[in-house]
């Protein structure tokens, strides 16, 4: 009797092992398929950008280029030189975007941190109401603020300028950065702030010496979030700037749509890729902190 039961258990155990292996392989297969599906557009972009127009006209979207030529990348970045004066190329607009993104991200992150700190550690009457107002800011659709914002920029005399865009993105981003930092700082024990107050540190000292040094996870999250949003923004850029002051996404649009003669798919693809490179770099460099920061709870201390 006992041996029979034992054999049964052995059988069950064996079939369970087989099942596990089968499902493991199924899982990897599915994941592999999804990965291919998501990477396909990128592949097409790169391959197309390296082909000549003749090759593209043959219509083999997925085929590798016969000869790798970087001409289209050059054209997208710095143009063809004087031949075609109306031609748009990305280099100046890339710098425009960088000049807009860096201050906008820095300022909105810094003040978001300050807001989060004040809202959680220096409670005052109506602080929750104020936070609610900030939260409300996250839900205002972009389109709703276009008109009032353009009027404001006009009054301030900074419409169609990089500084105008910096202001727009800072103000719009503040809701999100405040939310991020507020939720992070609320998990940090108040006693730490009390101890610092008794030690003699004031509002700013506590912020810079005690809180900011332990905020790196949430700073990374905020910077990635803000950087991606501001870099990729098209609506504000196209509404509040034109011509030489435009950020790269607007220039990319102009470049692709204003090509007078033939559509140069290889140049368009290269341009689109160039416009996407900075966000890719930020993700690659800080991606793991992003995940960590999103799930970061309280600081052990």
């Amino acid at each position: 009797m006992q041996t029979l039961e034992f054999q049964n258990i052995k059988k069950i155990e064996r079939s369970a092992t087989r099942k596990r292996i089968f499902f493991r392989w199924l899982l990897f297969l599915m994941l592999g398929l999804f990965a291919l599906y998501y990477i396909a557009p990128l592949y097409v972009m790169i391959v197309t950008s390296l082909k000549t127009m003749e090759e593209i006209r043959q219509g083999n979207l997925m085929s590798l280029p016969g000869e790798i030529i970087f001409d289209s990348w050059k054209t997208a970045w710095s143009g063809r030189g004087g031949i075609d004066a109306g031609n748009v190329f990305l280099r100046p607009f890339f710098w425009n975007s960088l000049k807009m993104v860096v201050p906008a991200v820095a300022i909105s992150t810094f003040f978001g941190a300050m807001n989060g700190y004040a809202l959680t550690k220096w409670r005052f009457k109506g602080d929750n109401l104020l936070f609610l107002a900030f939260l409300f800011g996250c839900f205002i659709p972009y389109q709703a603020i276009l008109l009032p914002m353009s009027r404001t920029l006009g009054i301030l005399g900074i419409s169609n300028s990089i500084s105008g865009l910096v202001l727009v993105h800072t103000v719009y981003g503040l809701s999100f950065t405040t939310l991020f930092f507020r939720n992070y700082y609320i998990s940090i024990p108040d006693e730490m702030i009390k101890a610092a107050r008794i030690d003699g540190a004031g509002f700013f000292k506590i912020f810079f010496k005690v809180l900011l040094p332990i905020s790196s996870p949430i700073i990374v999250v905020t910077v990635i979030w803000q950087f991606t949003n501001i870099w990729n923004d098209f609506l504000f850029g196209s509404s509040f700037s034109f011509g030489e002051a435009a950020p790269i996404q607007v220039a990319l649009n102009n470049m692709v749509l204003t090509s007078t003669s033939v559509k140069e798919y290889n140049v368009d693809m290269a341009a689109a890729f160039i416009a996407g490179i900075p966000t890719l770099i930020v993700y690659v460099l800080a991606g793991k902190y992003f995940i960590r920061g999103l799930t970061a709870g309280s600081v052990k201390g």
């Binding site: 006693e191 101890a195 610092a196 107050r197 030690d199 003699g200 010496k209 332990i214």
Partner: protein, 366 residues
């Protein structure tokens, strides 16, 4: 060195009255423990003394000066928190000297104090570590070091040992006691642990629901609790409380336990009444577990009892035995060498010289 005086201190959080007219006087060098269950307002009181909570009504006076609106940093106090509240980004060294740096103390003096107190607390080997690399006990030491280097007038402790395990807690308790002996600084200590309170305090203030129920030396609190709350809160196992009524016969006072059919009376010969109760008044009779002993004729005031054990708990050096005392469960603390068995009655005596009697309605000591 400083004295502290709290006059009619009141604090509301919204509609809840957290502190109701607190009065407290602490003389120089005293070790006062604020003892009470969670939510009794003891931590709020401490935070107000520290200046971390605003004062609604009343006064806080340190050394003759009203400090109601003085910033925490200017009160010359230091505080140790339950969660240690170390600065995670700083090394132990910087944690400890942060307060001195804020005060622009000279480098030599900082170095000297750091040396002295890190040796005293045995954290001199840990100075270059970060708080995350320390054990709970070490963090607690660092937190104390941070308070000590400032050499404040008053130390405030907010349940500093609650996060430590039992063994470490006893160790740190000893060290805090030693520190007080060495420094002689005024200390105010908040805890809900009555053992901590008894072993540390020169005086204990028992708090409940925003009121100080009783202030006194640990002995006074233990021997003459002025209310059922205090009696029940202090002591482990807790005091035995038996309801019944008071009776007077020929100028002799007796306590008659409830539900007593036969004529069983406990004489209250030596009891010092605060105010004399009336005949038939409902009272609660309290006696501590150690007042039940094996028969001992040498005791001055005692009665003999024959009680049946219901439950026997060995604590190591003695045993806590739950008896059936006329329908009530009472606990006796007896030496472990007596051979007690559940259901087998033992002859015992109840020491009557240290009992407490409370009014049933007001719950105050009679």
């Amino acid at each position: 060195m400083a004295t502290l005086k709290v006059n009619n201190l009141t604090k509301d959080f919204g509609n809840t009255k957290v502190l109701k007219q607190i009065n407290l006087e602490v003389s120089d060098g005293e070790f006062i423990v604020l003892l009470g269950p969670s939510g009794c307002g003891k931590s709020t009181l401490l935070n107000m003394i520290a200046g971390l909570e605003s004062v609604d009504e009343g006064e806080i006076i340190i050394d003759e000066y009203v400090v109601n609106r003085v910033e925490p940093k200017d009160r010359n106090i230091a505080m140790v928190f339950q969660s240690y509240a170390l600065y995670p980004a700083m090394t132990v060294r910087n944690n400890v000297i942060f307060g001195l740096k804020q005060r622009k103390v000279s480098k030599e003096h900082i170095e000297k104090s750091l040396n002295r107190f890190s040796k005293m607390l045995q954290i001199d080997q840990l100075l270059d570590r970060k708080p995350a690399q320390l054990s709970g006990g070490q963090r607690q030491r660092v937190a104390m070091g941070r308070a000590l280097v400032r050499e404040p007038q008053i130390f405030l402790f907010d349940e500093p040992l609650s996060n430590l395990d039992a063994k470490l807690r006893v160790e740190m308790r000893h060290e805090i006691n030693k520190l007080h002996e060495q420094l002689g600084t005024t200390m105010i200590y908040v805890t809900h642990d009555q053992v901590e309170a008894m072993s540390l305090a020169t005086r204990i203030a028992v708090m409940n629901e925003g009121i100080i129920q009783q202030i006194g030396t640990p002995q006074e609190i233990y021997d003459q609790p002025n209310s059922i709350f205090v009696a029940d809160f202090v002591g482990s196992p807790s005091i035995n409380l038996v309801p019944g009524k008071f009776s007077v016969e020929k100028n002799q006072f007796f306590f008659i336990p409830k539900q007593m059919e036969e004529n069983f009376k406990i004489p209250l010969k030596d009891y010092k009444f605060n105010n004399r109760p009336s005949e038939g008044q409902e009272v609660i009779f309290g006696f501590r577990p150690e007042h039940i002993n094996l028969e001992d004729k040498s005791l001055k005031f005692q009665i003999e009892l024959n009680l049946e054990p219901i439950l026997i708990e060995l604590t190591g050096y003695e045993q806590n035995i739950t008896f059936d005392f006329m329908g009530h469960e009472v606990i006796g603390r007896l030496p472990r060498n007596i051979n007690a068995q559940v259901g087998k009655a033992i002859s015992l005596s109840l020491n009557l010289s240290e009992i407490s009697i409370f009014d049933k309605i007001s719950t105050n000591r009679i």
